[in-house]
Amino acid sequence: MTGIVKKIIGSILTIAVVACLVFIAFAVIPGDPAVAKLGTQATPERLAALRETMGLNKSVPARFVEWIAGVVRGDFGSSYSYSMPVTKLISDKLPVTVILTLYSFVLMIVVSVPLAIVAARHENSAIDRVIQILSQVTMSVPPFFGGIIITLIFGLWLHLFAPGGYVSYTIDPVRFLTYMLWPALAIALPKGAMAFSLLYGGLTTERRKDYARTAYSRGNSTKDVFYKHLLKNACIPVITFFGMALADMIAGSIVIEQVFGIPGLGRILLISIQNRDYPVVEAIIVCIAVLVIVSNLLVDILYGVIDPRIVSGDE
């Protein structure tokens, strides 16, 4: 139990460090956001006035304290280009990205685990070979190209969905989820292929171990041996991968949102990067950092639950 508490404290500290680094990184870069907004022709008076409203006339340490105090309360300041609070700007977009990521994660598990079991049970058979080749190819498909291919085949040719026909979850949750299936699939497939090959490797190694033979000799069926004995042990290294995959999927969903025209964090992040709208960029990076760190924490805790031999808190 103390291990978990230690980990939670560690994660909170990490989030704090990341938030500080993000602020410093954007505070030291050259360029004046006020000039960027008004143009180089602006009068010094107008620039000074704008800096005042943007809060840029204060010293960097003062701004830092103000910013951190705001972040703790969930207030990230105001956007330079949208003239509205950042929190308001991103609060309805964050759930879209989170749902897309979780959706992809579930799909990845749903696709990879059964296939790995089927392939491992029929090791070296034709069905195993076919799955192996498919997984090797799928692994190499970048999600955004996978998304384009899915749009082409399932959207434009087979008319299973209307490309660009995104419906907000607040309007119609069912249509939202059916539309999100396709982008989630594009993210999940390459990761699922990697998870498959890891799990497959684990299962085929485990089945050769003594305890598997013992289980067979006690009269268990192949199915029982796989599900009750091998799967749990083969899963342990895969859990680490799942944790990393979850973090990667957050990044992946930012890219995929552009392919499927989904108004999540990705689009607003890209626009803000191009507009040099730093408060928005900072806020989104901190949000994503929190997501990544929390997902890592959950994986760590899960790890301890599955394999109690791993002493919590130590590496």
Partner: protein, 268 residues
Amino acid sequence: MSKKKNRDFNLILGSILTAVTTIPALIGLLWTPFDPHSMDNSLKLAHASFMHPFGCDNFGRDLLSRVMVGSATTLLIGLGTVMIGVIIGTFIGALTGYYGGLVDDIFMRFNDVMFSFPSLLLALVFVAIMGSGKMQLLFALGVAFIPSYVRIVRAEYVRARNMDYVKSAKLAGASDMRIMFVHILPNIFKILLNSVLIGFNNAVLAEAGLSFLGIGVQPPDASLGRMLSDAQTYLFNRPGLAVVPGVTLITMVLGISLIGKSKTVSGK
């Protein structure tokens, strides 16, 4: 038995796929059938023909020439990224792994935080700070890939520092630098090579991803990611515009990962 044959097959197929994509890219650095930047309105979205085997894009530019130049850009950025990552990563990993201590602890905490972030996202942050462009992209990706190499190299140095050959080198009076880079480094080449291949693939995909988002390679320069994002508008009428650069990208990545999986390289 069939496994051994299978592994060699990986190397052969991987080499063929890699050659199919890299040779045209290398030729593209020196010569292309058409100027990849010259626009011709009469050839706008032209179908494949004898002169233009892949057809032309929405500006009437020859797709084959653009894929050749674009793969070269992608390959070079991938290569540069891996070089930055490996050289700096090996240096940091060697020092922290070999010496250990408090500096090592602090570095590793920091490194773990960096490592837990998807490299695409890290690169995105760097691009946000430095602005977009080919050089910025190279730097951003290079820095984003350092933590993964630090991790691998450090683990090997921690293992090596108590081995007999290192102790005997120490007794023989070799300096720390000499032990680190003359004695230990050659022993971890094999592990490093494997992670270089994986890292190269990740770099290629990250470059394509960032250029796809429009914050990597800037027009008119061709890059596979950029071509894919431009092709989206014409997906229904000219799927080839997306399929050609996409398949090139997949072939490149698949080839390299098959080489990495082969018996000769992975040593398994």
